[in-house]
Amino acid sequence: MLIKASDFISFLQRCGNERIGEYDEIIVPVMSSDEDTLNWKKLDNNLTFSLESSRTVDPLKILYYLFRDSVTDKKYKKSKRLVAGVKACDINALVLLDKAMINEEFVDPSYKYWRETTTVISVDCTTIKDSCHCDLIGGLPYPSRGFDLNLSRIDEYYYITAGSEKGDVLLTLIKQYCSVEAPSDDAVNKINGFRNQIASELRYQNQKYNSRENLRTLKYPAIENWQNNSKDCVGCGACTNICPSCYCLILNDESKAEKFVKVRSYDSCQLHGYARVAGGGNPRPKISQRFRNRYLCKFCYMMDNFEMLGCTGCGRCIDACPAEIDFREVVDKLVNHVDSVISEPPKIKTQTLGRL
């Protein structure tokens, strides 16, 4: 289905102004004044937004898994929300977050609420950022699953694909307000051509990095190798907070009127007290150990837990790092690290033992 891009934009604006579709909130990426970064903003009258381009500064998770959110005694009102301009990397992260937060054993009430009330419109990437590297972890700069509607830009048009029931409903609504046309074979070819072009630009940008195979070998380099790579790390936790798929939380009691409610906020495995237990025991007291934990979590532990990588290649951790540590380089140096001590599983030392 093809729709004029300008028609689609004014449709979104009308949704906001005239409550078409009864969306209580419409969230879109807005270019910062220096025209360099995109940020999630609520749509209002005079806002110029840009659906295409590349990913936003903040990950999509901040709209579903709020930085600070109460999880008990909360009343969820009926509402409807539309988020447009989501990129493939964030959509993939949502797939992981869904597995972690809505499953047979556990449901996060707040995440589920936002997930159910939100319709996601994703868009193919039309530009790439220096830190983008979804190609390295087997991703693509356009989504193939997990969206309600997807838009692919082609000249003055968007090619619209519905990916869910919610998407079908929205598409029906769009048809009521905008004229749509069936795409010609030529148009479809053009979209595929453009998608391939962006993908190959991305591969060109990241050609110096190896493709991500044997990621499990990250378990093997000796800690000295991790120390070498984490010398500049200050352990601030920016990388995990900004990661679209990190969801470690900390629980607090917050005083509300006559009772306390549980509030969860983001935590970071990069912080010293993260795994420390009462009495002082800490499995990862050193920065290098915590630095290593993030890589193993992304590539080994989350794979075990969810059968997918915990990294979507969005590159936000690279942009956010105050020490300018490049995630891609670290993985490259330490995967298949042959000259290190390829360790067996850690052995328990057996000295000073009594006999039975």
Partner: protein, 273 residues
């Protein structure tokens, strides 16, 4: 599905000061909490914080439960200031439990030290409720000094069962304290045990260093790796695998554990830290 973050209010109806640093709270939750022995709950002090504790009472009682808590940090300091009649909160139960079915008909060895005796008391009390189902139960309990020993006034009752053996040891006896049982590391008590390790299970809980050497001793004695059950102490923050603080490799201590057979986690890193 229940909201697992939801706190069940519970009334403190009794407090036993077991040792200078350890006390047992007797709690009455507003609705029964049916746990299986070995599982843990999160105890909340409203407005202060919460921590994971394994009940130390039998799992056949769900409307009351005991929690034995050592004063060792911020939250436990507040727990030690609670009084009878106060309201606290509980979440849970969470995690894996001791596989009692696999213990039945066997000669069970229980090895514990310090505050690690809390979950073991729960196991032991649960076993006592069906004591004839087990061939024998041998409980080795350790503490630093006689004053640090917990459940002192219950030991004599426990010793009355014909198929129950209890050996206790303290690391040292400071001047002025009395002790007429063994003075050694608790793992040394294994020398007194006359159980054929083949096919029989052992349960270990205690400070990390004790668990480590206890496990190694049991392995040396011939216990099979999958017959040694460990109660792992990690930072179980949420209780259901969501916060990821307690991960042991890709296992969650809160969800896959806290009770692990040694064979399951022996290759994971930092298990004793």
């Amino acid at each position: 599905m229940n909201n697992l973050f939801e706190v069940i209010p519970a009334k403190v109806f009794g407090v036993d000061q077991e040792s200078p640093l350890i006390r047992t709270l007797h709690l009455e939750p507003e609705r029964p909490i049916s746990f299986k022995t070995g599982q843990f709950v999160e105890l909340t002090i409203p407005g202060i914080g919460e921590g994971p504790f394994t009940p130390s009472s039998s799992h056949f009682i769900s409307d009351h439960l005991d929690l034995t808590v050592m004063k060792t940090g911020f939250v436990t300091n507040y727990i030690h200031q609670t009084h009878v009649g106060e309201k606290v909160g509980l979440r849970g139960p969470f995690g894996s439990h001791y596989p009692l079915d696999k213990f039945k008909g066997k000669e069970l060895l229980i090895l514990g030290g310090g505050c690690g005796l809390a979950p073991l008391r729960s196991l032991f009390m649960t076993l006592l409720d069906e004591v004839d189902d087990y061939k024998s139960i041998t409980f080795l309990a350790g503490a630093k000094t006689p004053n640090d020993c917990i459940y002192k006034d219950q030991i004599d009752d426990w010793r009355k069962y014909s198929n129950v053996n209890i050996f206790r040891a303290v690391d040292e006896v400071p001047a002025g304290q009395k002790w007429d049982e063994d003075v050694c590391l608790v793992t040394k008590l294994l020398e007194k045990v006359q159980i054929d390790p083949k096919g029989n299970p052992a349960v270990v809980c205690g400070p990390p260093v004790m668990m480590k050497f206890g496990t190694l001793d049991l392995l040396r004695a011939g216990y099979a790796e999958d017959q040694i059950y460990l109660s792992m102490e990690k930072k179980m923050y949420c209780g259901f695998g969501q916060c990821r603080h307690c991960m042991v490799g890709s296992y969650y201590a809160c969800k896959d554990g806290p009770v692990f057979p040694y064979s399951q986690i022996k290759n994971e890193e930092d298990i004793w830290d």
